[in-house]
């Protein structure tokens, strides 16, 4: 070894076989590393599949918004040309919407996009459901009839496949080509029929009319040339009026604005909703006052978690102190009492609080019996914030006591003795010597209790009533009842962010190294 290093004073240190020492060391350690990785691999996979990926998926869902663009592609494309957003857009947008809705209705996708947009503007859902039935009954058969009257070949599937097989014609009639392809797809995929045996839908003729009337036809196909000349004398209708006839809300610029605002594939909309804001024509604005709930709910969640954390410190500190300073035998017995709640179901404990706290419950009965509270004014202890705070303090108390206890156990009694021998009174010795050393335990307990409290669900759900619920209850509602997963994901992401920020602040102020769990 010394020989090698002596020979190559400037170069890397070499092992006995002349290879660099670092490489040799890495090789020697590789087997160990692989073995370690294999040992944790099952758990790693488990966590990845059941925990990390779902969380990543949820975070993704909070901004993901492809459904509008995927379901209403023609509408969104046509809206690019919509200039005056104070008024409903022109014919082109409604033409796109007509075909989009027809296709979506055939594939039964129109209700999904309706539900999605309904989160942003109430009523859209039913409008879309109604339109799903309505677009098939539009008066666009007017065009079908006129084309087939002009030449019966237009009703023939073979004519169409012939025309649409020619790329020059496809380029000349883009909307028609798109509509025809869509119709073929609908017939085959949605209805499981043979296009050759079916009547071609009205919207294909509608597109053909729009192409020929809009751009004319300068190609060599005789059938098309005839049709192009004839369309100028065709009777026509406004598809916009058709929508108005269906429901005049379709002409509401706000509705069309909502579709436009939520057309991008990724949207901050869910996050804005989660902080009581909304996307609108004027950019980001506050929600109307009667729809602002989330900021209040976040504030309440934080506030109540802090109160619960505080009461846990106040109640848990003396207990932990006692446990840490009693002889082992007695403190073990008391420790079982502390741990006892852990061995009981959370639901049972919460339900027990219902029995105790309700107006005809044990606590109120006792208070009335000893005369502290008049019978006709029993205390409201449950189904409000008080109930949530009482029940959650009880449930989370062990999470405060255990880290406190384990930290206090490591504080040798000689410190307090030393302080007393130096002339400190009992209180000074506690406050200046013992307490500062127990702060890591308080820190650990507070982080544990606060983070558990901020995401708590079942207890506030059961005893919180209307005023004592947490943001998590709202998230659960959006996950399981309103099915607005995007909003639930956004709320959850914000909650996660808040916890991480608080953790960071805590680290800056107290220092995470000072947190001891044992």
């Amino acid at each position: 070894m010394t020989d090698n290093t002596a020979q190559t004073p400037a170069g890397p240190v070499l092992a006995a076989d002349g290879r660099p020492l670092k490489a040799s060391l890495n090789r020697a350690l590789r087997a160990q590393k692989i073995r370690a990785l294999l040992l944790i691999a099952p758990l790693l996979l488990f966590i990845l599949i059941t925990f990390i990926l779902p969380i990543a998926d949820m975070l993704f869902r909070s901004v993901e918004n492809q459904i509008v663009r995927e379901t209403l592609p023609r509408t969104v494309a046509a809206m690019e040309a919509w200039e005056n957003h104070e008024e409903a857009p022109g014919e082109d947008v409604y033409a796109g919407l007509y075909i989009d809705l027809f296709e979506a209705a055939e594939f039964r996708r129109h209700t999904r996009v309706g539900s999605r947009l309904n989160y942003e503007m109430t009523g859209i859902s039913s409008l879309f459901r109604q339109a799903g039935r309505g677009v098939g009954r539009f008066d666009t058969d007017l065009y079908t009839d006129q084309f087939t009257d002009l030449d019966t070949a237009w009703a023939d599937y073979a004519t169409w496949t012939g025309l649409m097989g020619d790329s020059a014609i496809r380029a000349a009639l883009p909307e028609t080509a798109d509509s025809f392809d869509t119709w073929v797809r609908i017939t085959i995929e949605a209805n499981d029929d043979d296009p050759a045996e079916e009547n071609i839908e009205d919207f294909v003729y509608f597109s053909l009319y729009r192409d020929l009337a809009g751009n004319g036809y300068s190609g060599s196909n005789a059938l098309l040339s005839t049709a192009a000349e004839a369309v100028s004398s065709f009777d026509s209708l406004s598809i916009r009026d058709q929508f108005e006839e269906l429901d005049e809300d379709w002409l509401n610029p706000e509705l069309m604005e909502t579709i436009w605002v939520y057309s991008p594939s990724y949207t901050p909309g869910y996050f804005l909703t989660a902080i009581d804001m909304q996307l609108s024509a004027d950019g980001i604005t506050a929600q109307p006052e009667d729809r602002q709930i989330y900021v209040t709910l976040f504030g309440r969640t934080l506030f109540m978690s802090l109160v619960i954390m505080g009461s846990c410190v106040l109640l848990g500190y003396p207990i932990a102190f006692l446990l840490a300073n009693l002889p082992m035998r007695i403190s073990n017995v008391l420790m079982i009492l502390v741990l006892l709640p852990f061995w009981t179901s959370l639901l049972v404990r919460t339900s027990a609080w219902k029995v105790l706290l309700q107006q005809q419950g044990v606590i109120n009965d006792i208070l009335v019996w000893i005369g502290m509270v008049p019978d006709d004014a029993r205390l409201q202890l449950i189904n409000n914030q008080t109930g949530t705070i009482i029940a959650m303090t009880h449930i989370l108390l062990p999470f405060m006591i255990l880290p406190l206890y384990s930290v206090m156990q490591t504080i040798p009694p000689s410190y307090v003795r030393a302080a007393k021998s130096l002339g400190a009174t009992d209180w000074t010795a506690f406050w200046r010597v013992y307490f500062p050393q127990s702060i890591p335990g308080i820190g650990a307990g507070c982080i544990l209790v606060f983070i558990l409290a901020i995401g708590y669900y079942i207890t506030p759900e059961l005893v919180g009533g209307r005023t004592g619920t947490f943001i998590s209850n709202r998230i659960a509602y959006h996950i399981s009842s309103s099915l607005n997963w995007g909003l639930a994901a956004a709320l959850g992401s914000i909650l996660l962010g808040v916890v991480l920020i608080l953790y960071w602040i805590y680290d800056r102020i107290v220092g995470i190294d000072n947190v001891k769990l044992g």
């Binding site: 003795r417 302080a419 007393k420 130096l422 002339g423 400190a424 050393q437």
Partner: protein, 366 residues
């Protein structure tokens, strides 16, 4: 200080008893006075009650019976923080969340001393232990020896008249421990403070103390200056606990003033000084220090009894030779001889005669 508390009786334990469980006594009938300025060491094996005595003096334990007096005043009912006794703990008990200077200022702060006085005293105390530059450090940043010095300075900074030390050097390595022994005694003597020191290390006790109280089984077995303790142990426990010691069992065969002959169990006769034996026929444990055994015939007292011994092992230890012998059936009989040019090295298997001066060989209780 009133008349009853002369400088001989600064700290007095008067018939003190202590029991933790109401069944056994940890401290049994303790009577002890410590003079002002004296360095007294409580020495004993663990569980002998020495630390309990110290804790009673400091006020962290209450005596079950009896009185403890400090400067003539009974202190049984005075809480620890009003006793004004400095204390150095086994693991120093420096407050980890305070700097060295804050640790030292703590006793001054709780006495509401002015900031400038505090600073002056802290500085003086730090200088006293040669740690003047370390005021801003945290205890965790100091070595064991440095922490020890700070703990000492903290116990002295508020100028107590009495300082208690509970095995303060137990956690240090040998070399540092010897150095600190010297420093502590110097400091204590220079400042003229009374010190009660608890240890289980006999070397520490012998080198540091004015007087040593040897504890065993809740009683003081012997209270004497170190040399007396070593050379004239008053019972077999002290003889065996202090220093290295050879023991032989036998029966007193003749007593003649301060001479007694003891017949060992294998029939050989030796000369002893009777300490705890009074009549012929009594069983006795004879104790002799390894360095007082002689095997060179020329240096022995003429006419004294000698006994046969067989060399089992010779160990070279540098400054001394340590030789293990078989004497009267005892295979752990050790003799120590100084490494000198004329000193002979005994060979294993050699048959020799050993002897000693009668006054070095003490016939104690069996």
């Amino acid at each position: 200080m009133n008349a009853s508390s002369g400088s001989e009786n600064f700290v007095v334990f008067d018939r003190v008893q202590k029991s933790y469980d109401g069944e056994t006594l940890v401290v049994k009938d303790l009577n002890l006075s410590v003079g002002k300025g004296e360095f007294l060491t409580m020495l004993g094996p663990s569980g002998s009650g020495k630390t309990t005595c110290l804790m009673m003096l400091a006020g962290f334990e209450t005596a079950t019976h009896g009185e403890i007096l400090l400067g003539g005043q009974p202190i049984n009912n005075i809480p620890p923080h009003k006793r004004g006794i400095g204390m150095v703990f086994q693991n120093y008990a420096l407050f980890p969340h305070m700097t060295v200077a804050e640790n030292l200022a703590f006793p001054l702060q709780v006495r509401n001393m002015s900031k400038s006085d505090q600073e002056a005293k802290v500085k003086r105390a730090l200088d006293m232990v040669q740690m003047g530059d370390f005021g801003g450090r945290r205890p965790a940043q100091l070595s064991g020896g440095q922490q020890q010095r700070i703990a000492l300075a903290r116990a002295l900074v508020f100028e107590p008249e009495l300082v208690l030390m509970d095995e303060p050097l137990g956690a240090l390595d040998k070399q540092l421990r010897e150095h600190m022994q010297f420093e502590i005694t110097n400091l204590a003597h220079n400042l003229g403070i009374t010190t009660v020191y608890v240890t289980h290390d006999q070397t520490e006790a012998l080198t540091m103390s004015d007087r040593v109280a040897v504890f065993d089984d809740g009683r003081i077995q012997q209270l004497a200056p170190p040399d007396e303790l070593y050379e004239a142990p008053s019972n077999s426990f002290v003889a065996q606990f202090i220093g290295e010691n050879n023991t032989l069992m036998g029966t007193v065969s003749k007593i003649d003033g301060d001479r007694a002959e003891v017949r060992l169990d294998d029939g050989e006769i030796i000369d002893t000084k009777p300490v705890n034996v009074s009549k012929v026929g009594e069983r006795t444990l004879v104790s002799i220090r390894p360095e007082r055994v002689e095997f060179n015939k020329e240096r022995m007292t003429p006419g004294a009894h000698t006994i046969k011994a067989e060399v089992l092992e010779f160990i070279y230890m540098g400054d001394i030779y340590r030789t293990r012998l078989r004497v009267a059936g005892n295979e752990d009989f050790i003799i120590k001889t100084r490494n000198a040019p004329d000193q002979r090295r005994l060979q294993p298997g050699e048959q020799i005669e050993i002897g000693w001066r009668a006054e070095d060989c003490r016939a104690l209780d069996a």
